[in-house]
Each structure stands twice: as structure tokens, then as C-alpha cells.
């Protein structure tokens, strides 16, 4: 009872005394658990390495600077591959995600009982596995190279794009669909006139958003041998060529910033 009666005036409090006490004990318990966990972590940490970290970091920093600028001539091709992996992968995934989204959306699925669960399973399974793991699997199946990277990115993106798209489909204004149906339009015409115009802005937004994410994801795919700039990164790391590593990191950073700028521009233009 947050309202108390004191000498005839009604005093309002956020919580009763009992509730405040419970909350206080809750916080106490939380702090106790935190302290206990801290001790366990501390006991299993080799503190020597931690105290040593600033010195090592400084050591790597001095080795890595200045970046080996002339190495940039060898990075043009890999960064181009990375961009292609991201772009092609996104395009392929969009082609596959659109039908999956229509099958998964409650208002467009042909059968909510049989087909919708399958579509949702595709979405969940492709989404839950990281593209690096997909790449590892695909390299084993189709061999190392750019193609494995493209397929890995494509598969990983299906679930993401299809999920966002089917949510957009479920949120459309149903009366517009009704109006088109009432004219005697066929199922496909209803889709083209009643549904597609309504989800087009969402679709464009999802496409550039995923492309932007995929550029970042495809930079690391080379670490497992799926092509792109990650290949150079792992090669340079293996031979401890720190000035090359720092240059690669700068190139990746620039590529990501540019892609983010492009996708922000495109989304701004649509909305």
C-alpha cells in the first residue's frame, strides 16, 4: 500500500517499507555474488601476464608503427575480394530470403501448420551459426577461396534478412490488401500491388544494413582461408610482420567507415 494515512493527510510513497527492505536485500545479495565471482576469477588468473600487458602492448605498438605503407600495393586485390564477397553474398542471400520471408509471415504463408515452421527453422538455423563457422564448413566442402566466402556470407545472412522482412510483412496495413483482393486480383497480383509497395522501404533498409554488416564479417573470413583481406592478415600475423598488420587494420577500418557512410546515406534517402 503506497498510500499511508498520517494524521489525516494522505502520504504517497513509491514503495511500502516492506518492499524497500526486500529491494535492499536484493541489492546486497547481488553485490555479494559479484564479490564472490570476482574472487574465483582472480584465483584462476595468471596475474603476472596481466601486469605484464602494458609492456607487451607497448612493445607491439613500437614494432607495428609506422605501418609498412609500400605494402598497400599488395592489398588492393584482397580488399576488392572482400567487398565482392560481401556484396555478392548479400545479393544471393536477399534472393533466397524473400521467398523464405513470405513463407514465414503469418499473413502470407500458404500453410501456417506445415510450411511456416520449416521457414522459421531455416531462419533460426542460418542465423544462429556464425559466418566464420559456415566458412570453415564450406571450405571443407567446396575448398578454400573466395567462393566459399560468398556462400558463407550468403547463408549466414538469409536468416537475418528473412526475419526482418517477415516482420515487416506482418506489420503491413491489411485493408490495402483487402482492397486489392476485392477487385478480383489474383494471389500474385495482390502480392505485387497490396504487399510489395508496403514493404519496399523496409526491404531496401534491410539490404543496405546487411551489406554493411557483411563487409565487416567478410574481413575476417580470410582468417580461415575463405578469401579476402583476412588471408593477408593471418599471413602477416603468422610471420609477426607487425607493420603489415597495422596497415591491414587501417585499410579494414577505412573500408568499414566508407560502407557505413554509404548505408547511412542510402537509408536516409529511403526513409
Amino acid at each position: 500500500m503506497p498510500v499511508l494515512d498520517q494524521n489525516g493527510t494522505q502520504v504517497w510513497r513509491r514503495r511500502t517499507g516492506r518492499e524497500s527492505l526486500q529491494r535492499w536485500f536484493g541489492w546486497l545479495l547481488g553485490v555479494a555474488v559479484f564479490v564472490y565471482c570476482w574472487q574465483i576469477i582472480s584465483a584462476s588468473t595468471t596475474w603476472f601476464f596481466v601486469w605484464d600487458a602494458p609492456r607487451i602492448a607497448n612493445d607491439i605498438w613500437t614494432r607495428a608503427t609506422p605501418p609498412r605503407w609500400e605494402y598497400i600495393t599488395q592489398l588492393g586485390r584482397p580488399i576488392w575480394d572482400t567487398l565482392n564477397i560481401a556484396t555478392l553474398g548479400t545479393l544471393i542471400s536477399l534472393c533466397l530470403a524473400v521467398p523464405v520471408a513470405f513463407l514465414a509471415a503469418r499473413n502470407t504463408t500458404p500453410s501456417a501448420l506445415f510450411i511456416r515452421p520449416i521457414a522459421l527453422l531455416i531462419i533460426v538455423s542460418t542465423r544462429s551459426i556464425n559466418s566464420l563457422i559456415w566458412a570453415l564448413l564450406l571450405i571443407a566442402i567446396i575448398g578454400p577461396g573466395v567462393f566459399a566466402g560468398v556462400v558463407a556470407i550468403a547463408i549466414r545472412s538469409i536468416g537475418f534478412c528473412a526475419k526482418l522482412l517477415y516482420e515487416a510483412i506482418e506489420e503491413i496495413d491489411q485493408t490495402q490488401v483487402e482492397a486489392i483482393t476485392a477487385t478480383g486480383a489474383s494471389r500474385w497480383q495482390v502480392m505485387a500491388y497490396g504487399i510489395v509497395p508496403q514493404i519496399l522501404p523496409a526491404f531496401a533498409g534491410i539490404a543496405v544494413f546487411r551489406w554493411d554488416i557483411n563487409i565487416r564479417e567478410s574481413t575476417v573470413l580470410g582468417l580461415v582461408g575463405a578469401g579476402g583481406i583476412g588471408l593477408q592478415l593471418s599471413a602477416s600475423l603468422n610471420v609477426l610482420a607487425w607493420p603489415q598488420v597495422s596497415l591491414i587494420l587501417i585499410v579494414i577500418l577505412v573500408a568499414v567507415v566508407i560502407s557505413e557512410w554509404v548505408s547511412a546515406k542510402v537509408r536516409g534517402a529511403i526513409i
Binding site: 476485392a182 477487385t183 478480383g184 497480383q189 500491388y193 509497395p197
Partner: protein, 264 residues
């Protein structure tokens, strides 16, 4: 022309929206359907073109039972019935012209409609209709740029370009101001007269219905409790349809003379 026989709709929740409705609409008659919210007005209209599936009964359009048609035949039958909606239900991101032409979807194939390659006769008719409702200059605007009254006019064009026998009109004025409401009602009734169209107009503005239509049907809890000319709507009848209320002000003869400039 249109005949409903024992039309019944029971929703999955068990609500009986329509209880064995019998109704006949002759060719060219405009009819207003009044009744409180939840009386089944919208359900009845939607059962006729089967946006809502009727539970039992017959919907006879020129002798054909629409309730039993397969999906292909139903599409053909829907072309005969134009529908106008409360919130206009235009496809907001398409142009006025595309919205009007979408009324022809039942007549053109998928690829033609997808590529917007409508027959010239359809395009001519679209321009003629837009001119008739005074929106010719808006043909290239996107639907979401129009005002409420303008959108409803586009909705009317979309229904009429189907060249239907029957108009199903669901609360055409509920989202419009009083003056625009009258203009839209006048436009609909005029167009019906010009083309000899029958129409069922759901409306909850009783005065507006009395002003424009020759026949009023009152619905209450899914049953017809009144069917007759507008001046037959006495306070007792309105009480039967809507429940107890002072009805004298509502059925007072509305003076229409201040509205003449709006008629053009």
C-alpha cells in the same frame, strides 16, 4: 439482382455477427445500412464479396450463388462488385493513377499489371473517371499526398473502373469532415444514378443516410429490424435499432441549401 438468403456468419469466437439475413436489392437501388457498432454491417458487406467467408446461407448475384464459388470463379464475380472503404484503403506508396488502374487487376494478366502495361481503353477510362471526380490534375501524385476527401474520390474511381453491377460501400464518410462527407455521399449516389448501379452503403450517420438514399435497412445484433424509406425512421424505430436516446434532433429535416456550392 442481389439476394441474400438466410445469410449467417458465426466467428470462431462464437460471436454470431449475422443471424439468417434475408435481403433483396433490385437493380439500380441505393440502400443505406445503418446500425450501432458491432451490429454486423461490415461483416454483411464483406460476406457478399467474401472478404469474410459466410458460415451458411446464399448470396445470389444475378442468380449465381457467390458463397459456393471456387477461387477462380470468385475472382470473376468480385470484378462485378466494386468496394469503397472507410479509411480509403488506397495503396499509399503508389500513384493515384496506379491506384485507379488497380481496379482493373481482375481483367489483366499478372505481367501486364506488374509492368503497368494496361490496355489503352483502361487508361482512357481512368482519366475520364478522374476528371469526373475532379482529380485529373492529381493523376501523377502519390496517394499519401492527398487529403481525405481526395483519397476517397480515388477510392470511388478504383471501384467504378471495374465497371461493376454493385457497389459495396463500407462507412465512406466515417473519417471525413461533415462537408466532405456530404460531397462524397452526393458523388456516390449521383454516380450510381448515372450508371444504374445498385449500392449498399454502410453508414452510421443517420441524418446523412436520410438525405441521400431512398431505402434504409436497420441492423441490430445481426438481425434486420427496419427496412423502409428514410422517413419511416421514427424515434421509436431508431430506439429499436440503437437503443434508448433522444432522437428528435437526429431525424430533424436537414437543410441542404448551404451546401450547394459544394455540389460542383
Amino acid at each position: 439482382m442481389l439476394q441474400l438468403k438466410k445469410l449467417t456468419k458465426t466467428y470462431k469466437t462464437g460471436d454470431q455477427a449475422l443471424k439468417a439475413i434475408d435481403l433483396e436489392v433490385p437493380k439500380g437501388q441505393v440502400l443505406a445500412l445503418i446500425g450501432p457498432s458491432g451490429a454486423g454491417k461490415s461483416t454483411m458487406i464483406r460476406c457478399i464479396n467474401r472478404l469474410v467467408e459466410p458460415s451458411s446461407g446464399e448470396v445470389l448475384l444475378d442468380g449465381v450463388d457467390l458463397a459456393r464459388l471456387g477461387s477462380g470463379a470468385l475472382r470473376k464475380a468480385r470484378r462485378e462488385m466494386g468496394m469503397i472503404f472507410q479509411e480509403y484503403a488506397l495503396v499509399e506508396r503508389l500513384t493515384v493513377m496506379e491506384n485507379v488502374l488497380s481496379g482493373r487487376l481482375g481483367f489483366v494478366g499478372f505481367w501486364r499489371s506488374f509492368l503497368r502495361k494496361y490496355p489503352q481503353s483502361d487508361v482512357d477510362e481512368a482519366f475520364r473517371l478522374l476528371d469526373r471526380v475532379g482529380l485529373l490534375h492529381m493523376a501523377d501524385k502519390r496517394a499519401d499526398e492527398l487529403s481525405g476527401g481526395q483519397r476517397q474520390r480515388v477510392g470511388i474511381c478504383r471501384a467504378l473502373i471495374q465497371n461493376p453491377k454493385l457497389l459495396l460501400v463500407d462507412e465512406p464518410t466515417a473519417s471525413l469532415d461533415p462537408k466532405t462527407s456530404r460531397q462524397i455521399m452526393r458523388l456516390i449516389t449521383e454516380l450510381c444514378r448515372e450508371r444504374g448501379l445498385a449500392a449498399i452503403i454502410n453508414i452510421h450517420d443517420v441524418a446523412l443516410a436520410q438525405m441521400f438514399v431512398p431505402r434504409v435497412v436497420g441492423l441490430r445484433f445481426g438481425e434486420i429490424v427496419f427496412d423502409g424509406p428514410p422517413n419511416g425512421l421514427t424515434p421509436e424505430k431508431l430506439t429499436e435499432i440503437y437503443g434508448e436516446e433522444d432522437w428528435e434532433a437526429t431525424i430533424e429535416k436537414v437543410d441542404d441549401s448551404d451546401d450547394i456550392e459544394a455540389a460542383e
